[in-house]
Amino acid sequence: MKHLRAWILLFAGAWPLAAQERPYFVTYSHEMEEPGNLEIEMFNAAGTPKGANSFLGSTLELGYGVKTWWTSEFYLDGQSTANDSTIFTGFRWENRFRPLMGEHWINPVLYVEFENTAADKALREVVGHDGNADFADPNAVAREEHEREMELKLILGSNFRGFNLSENIIAEKNLANEPWEFGYSWAVSRPLKLAASAHKCAFCAERFQAGVEMYGGLGDRYSFGLNQTSHYFGPTLNWSAPGGTTFSFSPQFGLNDYSIPRLYRFAVSYEIEQFFARLRGER
């Protein structure tokens, strides 16, 4: 009975929740999930590649703060393509480790991910020679090629006068004996107001964060550089609602002919504080 009550309370959202998300879709900041908290997030990317059908790629993320310096996240990916089909495309499991305790001018975080996907269109990162042409195959063809990949990232983040600047350097290896592929992303954001309001409010300026984000591929081990790589840039905005839900949106623009011309990204995240303690009825 106690467990039943805990589950009902859990999904009825009966607790005050907190979220202070950065409005980034590809770039990771150095900020970790708070220990014990579970974040549930739905990422979406919609686009119309040149000469191909429009798509909506989605990712359901479950992120858990294991320690102050260790965050573990599990993703389920899927996509829907116009005039084609809607399919489950695979899963990812990532872990982020913060080696330095305390806050510094530049804060490094090490990221390790394993993914098993096929026909993925969530565009959670762009590496190697990823580009518009990858979206041309019908789902029935694309899902035949399974990508079992190991991805490493060096995440660098800084906070200065309310601004957050984050840079990611990405190296990805398809375990089917393919070369290492590389990519990058960076983003900067700032709350619209730095001080908090004395009264509780839903649409105070400090609940909004705005910024810009850019990312792209850097070729692979044999052809490192910008040749035949895609790049995206766009403004990004989020709003943290009082209940702990954060809504994010970003229109992003392909910067060359190799890129998808436009992407529309939106995300909703929800954070449950002290998840397991609540399940045990300790809160």
């Binding site: 607790w15 806050e103 730095l194 509780k200 300790e282």
Partner: protein, 130 residues
């Protein structure tokens, strides 16, 4: 054999010393790590009623789930009405702790909050002693 015993006793002694050090540096040890400049920092919102109110909102949103609704502490997290927080620590010390966290002890860094919000939070915490 003598050499093995020497290693066993040395390891045990080293373990003991490290354990004592760990015990000695627990809880309030973060206070000793605060640099002098940070210790002396002044709070731009000190004593302001609006800052206390804003700080209370921030506390409820980000801190209460660990430290209790009224900072009384919980089973695993310390109270913030203690003499360490209210008397021993300066406002600058608390700001330093919020900014850097005490990660090995489970306290995350709150550098993701803008500096004015950290000071508002400190203002609220210090108001609890009154």
């Amino acid at each position: 054999m003598t050499r093995v015993l020497w290693w066993v006793y040395s390891s045990a002694a080293l373990f003991g010393i490290l354990s004592l050090l760990a015990f000695a540096t627990a809880d309030g040890a973060w206070l000793a790590r605060v640099p002098a400049n940070d210790h002396q920092k002044t709070n731009p919102y000190q004593g302001q009623a609006e800052a206390i109110s804003a700080g209370r909102n921030i506390f409820v949103e980000h801190c209460a789930h660990c430290h209790g609704e009224n900072a009384e502490g919980t089973k695993k997290r310390p109270p913030l009405r203690s003499s360490r927080v209210q008397q021993e620590a300066s406002m600058g010390d608390l700001h330093w702790l919020l900014y850097n966290g005490n990660m090995k002890k489970g306290m995350p860094s709150w550098a993701k909050l803008p500096d004015p919000q950290l000071w508002q939070l400190v203002t609220y915490l210090k108001s609890l002693q009154q």
